[in-house]
């Protein structure tokens, strides 16, 4: 086995779970996530010489690009006109008494609510909460400024809170606690 291949397996392949998690959340199905990851990993291998610093954010940036390309081809509507200027920084919001709904929400509802977020919000949320990456790393992966990461994340959480609230109000059952 070549030295290059051995190093790649050592440095990059351990992050295949992170790659798949991101791809799965962005494509929202197993089959396409596998295809996207496969393609992205081959691309990563090709550009392996360009790896500087940590492998995980580097790989995720490549996976993220593959996902966006995939979405452009297969789900163009999801990437439809999206303007970060609309993300006026949200002031302290007044959410009402059922605010602690997040703590009691059921797993399936939460997953559905995240999956229903626009892709641009979903990606920063997954990178932050599930991959625990810093704003700086997320900015590099999503190719946006750090300020944009912050405002997208803020909006993502707000949208999520709102939709969880709507779900539990509709079902009427999940709010107690």
């Amino acid at each position: 086995m070549s030295e290059r291949k051995r190093k790649f397996e050592q440095l990059v392949l351990p992050h295949v779970d992170a790659a798949y998690n991101l791809a799965r959340w962005l494509t929202r199905n197993d089959h396409d996530a596998e295809d996207v990851v496969q393609e992205a990993v081959l691309r990563a291998y090709r550009y392996f010489d360009g790896l500087r610093g940590e492998a995980r954010p580097w790989l995720l940036a490549i996976v993220r690009n593959s996902c966006i390309t995939w979405l452009q081809v297969n789900r163009p509507v999801e990437l439809a006109a999206f303007d970060d200027n609309d993300l006026r920084h949200d002031a302290l919001n007044e959410d009402g008494p059922e605010a602690h709904v997040a703590r009691n929400v059921d797993r399936r509802m939460l997953n559905e609510a995240i999956a229903a977020l626009p892709a641009q919000f979903r990606e920063v949320l997954i990178l932050r909460e599930l991959e625990d990456l810093s704003y700086k790393e997320i900015a590099r992966i999503a190719a946006v400024p750090m300020g944009t990461v912050m405002s997208r994340l803020a909006r993502a959480r707000r949208l999520l809170a709102a939709s969880l609230r709507a779900i539990s109000n509709a079902s009427g059952a999940q709010v107690r606690g």
Partner: protein, 252 residues
């Protein structure tokens, strides 16, 4: 701080991305504002719920095996060469966009080098002041303070008697700055408390001075030691102290 600013900073705060000085400011605001505190709790609730309950999709085992098998022994050279210029251009423009906006828009996120040390020093000073524990060893005698610190650190900080110059030694404590334990010497001038943080190191530049939130922070190096002082004392008098310390207790 107004509600809008708080709303903006709260996420960075909950994510641990806010610098120490700004965090303290926010914490002070939260302490006096139950509604904001509740918003903060809600945010932690949402974040916690996602971390705890959202699905983490690990790669199916066959995928990892397939990936390993699919790596060609020799990478595709031609493809690589052809692909570079376009990618480089793209990468450069992304990088430029990120840098420009970053520096222009959010100076308060994760600053670097001296500025970060200045902020850490300020935050440590404020924290110690808030809980009223500036001096763990309270003594105006340099021969008490110095051994106390030396016994607890891997270096021996210079402790000077500067009372003749109007800077009264109050004591010292241990603190933690720039990722290491440091000595904090506490001096007093009139009613102003001054923290002087000392640890071994070389300065990249000469004396650096920062002003933030009504506090002055000054850093310099002497004889292999770094000195960072923080106080609400005015810049001129703080500068007097730094010159005294740089001159080892003698007025220049």
């Amino acid at each position: 701080m107004n509600g809008e600013e708080v709303g903006r900073l709260l996420h960075a705060y909950v994510d641990g991305e806010l610098d120490p000085a700004k965090s303290l400011e926010l914490e002070a605001y939260l302490a006096g504002n139950p509604a904001a505190r509740e918003a903060c709790d809600r945010l932690r609730g949402i974040s916690g719920a996602i971390r705890e309950k959202a699905d983490y999709h690990a790669a199916p085992a066959p995928l990892a095996a397939r990936l390993r098998a699919s790596l060609p022994a020799v990478p595709d050279e031609i493809n690589r060469r052809a692909a570079w210029p376009g990618r480089l251009k793209l990468a450069a423009s992304f990088a430029a966009a990120i840098l420009v906006t970053w520096f222009a828009a959010i100076g308060y996120l994760r600053p670097d080098g001296d500025e970060r040390i200045a902020q850490e020093a300020l935050a440590s000073h404020l924290r110690a002041t808030l809980v009223n524990r500036l001096a763990e060893v309270a003594s105006s005698d340099q021969h008490t303070v110095k051994p106390w610190l030396s016994a607890r650190l891997t270096f021996s900080p210079p402790v000077m008697d500067l009372s003749a110059h109007g800077f009264e030694l109050v004591g010292g404590r241990l603190d933690y700055i720039a990722g290491r334990p440091v000595a904090a010497l506490v001096y007093k001038r009139r009613q102003h408390m001054i923290d002087v943080f000392v640890w071994p190191g070389q300065a990249a530049a000469g004396e650096r001075t920062f002003a933030r939130d009504g506090f002055n922070v000054t850093g310099f190096a002497r004889d292999g030691m770094l000195f960072w002082m923080v106080s609400d004392l005015n810049q001129n008098e703080l500068h007097d102290l730094s010159r005294l310390m740089a001159g080892n207790g003698r007025a220049p």
